[in-house]
Subunit: 188 residues, 2 copies
C-alpha cells in the first residue's frame, strides 16, 4: 500500500502536534519531525518550508471551524438561540481539539502563530464574546462571556479533567457555560 | 533620604515583574533589572543570587495568600459559606495581582517557577476545586469548579477587560463565579 501525499501531510501534522506537546514549538525541529515520522528532512521540506508553516497548518483547521461557527451565528438574529449555537459549537470544537488547545494555552510559540492567524481573520477574539452576549452587552455580561470562553478553553483542558471522556466533558462544559451566561439548562 | 534595604528589594521585585511583562522571564536578565533600577548588578546580587530567586520572590506573596485563604476555608464546615469565602478571596487576589497573574498565564518561565512552589505547598491546584465544591463533588461540579477558577484567573486578565477598574471587575468576576457554582447572588 502506498501512502498518498495527503496521508503524509496529515501524519506530519499529527506528529508535529505530538512533538509540540512534549518539547514545545520552540523545542521542536524539522529534523525531529522527520525522525519521528521515519522520513528524511527533504520529505518534510516537500510539504512545508519552515516550522512556522507547520505550526500554522496544525492550528488552522480548528481556527477555520471557529470562524465558520461565528459566521453562521451571525445569521441567527435571536440572541438566545445564537448564544446556544455558539456555546455548543465552541465546546464541541474545544473538546475535539483537546491536545491542540492545551498546547496553544501553554506554549507561547503556538499562541503567537494562532494570534497572527486570529488577528488576520477579523479578530475572532472580539467576535466570540459579541456572538455570546451581543455587541451592546453590559459589563457584567462581558465579564461572564470572557470567563466562559477562557474557562472552557483552558479550564476544560486542565490535567484534573484529562481522565474524562469527550462526551461527558462536552456535556458538563456546555452546562457550565450556559449557567454562566444565564441560558436555561438543556433537556437531554 | 536614604532608601532602606526593604525599599530596594520591593522596588527590585516590582521592576522585575514589569520587565517580565514586556520581555518574558527568559528574556529578562539580572543586568536588565539593574539597569532599569539604575543600580549596579552587584546591588541586585546583594538581594538575589539568581533570576530564579527573583522569579520565586515575585510570585511567592500571592501564593502564600492563596494558601492562607485555603487554610482558613478548611476550617469552615458548611459547604456554601466555605465556597463563598474561597470565591471572594480568590477573586480579590486575582484582581489585586492582575499583572502577575497575566504573566503567569502567558509566560512558561514564570509558570514553571509557580508550579514548583505550588506543588511544594501540598498542591494548591488540588485543594482549590475541593474547597469550592467539596472532596466528593460529582463530575458536573468538578468541571464547573475548574472552569470557574481558570476562567476567573485567565479570563479576568484578557486584554478585553483591561479597561475595567478593580472594583467593577471584582464584583462581576465574583458574580460570574457564584453563578457558575450555583451559589445565590450576593445582596450588596
Amino acid at each position: 500500500m502506498t501512502a498518498t501525499k495527503g496521508d503524509t501531510r496529515a501524519r506530519l501534522l499529527e506528529t508535529a502536534l505530538g512533538l509540540f506537546t512534549v518539547h514545545g514549538v520552540e523545542g521542536t525541529s524539522l529534523q525531529m519531525i522527520a525522525d519521528a515520522l521515519g522520513v528524511t528532512k527533504a520529505a518534510v521540506y516537500y510539504h512545508f518550508k519552515t516550522k512556522d508553516e507547520i505550526t500554522e497548518a496544525v492550528a488552522l483547521p480548528a481556527l477555520r471551524e471557529l470562524t465558520a461557527i461565528l459566521d453562521h451565528a451571525a445569521t441567527i438574529t435571536r440572541p438566545g438561540p445564537r448564544a446556544d449555537y455558539v456555546i455548543d459549537g465552541f465546546v464541541d470544537l474545544v473538546v475535539r481539539n483537546r491536545v491542540l488547545v492545551a498546547v496553544v494555552c501553554s506554549d507561547p510559540g503556538l499562541a503567537r502563530v494562532v494570534d497572527r492567524i486570529v488577528y488576520a481573520e477579523q479578530s475572532v477574539l472580539v467576535r466570540m464574546p459579541e456572538m455570546l452576549v451581543g455587541p451592546d452587552a453590559d459589563e457584567a455580561a462581558t465579564v461572564a462571556a470572557n470567563v466562559a470562553l477562557v474557562g472552557v478553553a483552558m479550564g476544560g483542558n486542565t490535567p484534573a479533567l484529562a481522565y474524562m471522556d469527550d462526551e461527558t466533558l462536552r456535556r458538563h462544559l456546555a452546562d457550565a457555560m450556559r449557567r454562566l451566561l444565564g441560558r436555561p439548562r438543556r433537556r437531554d
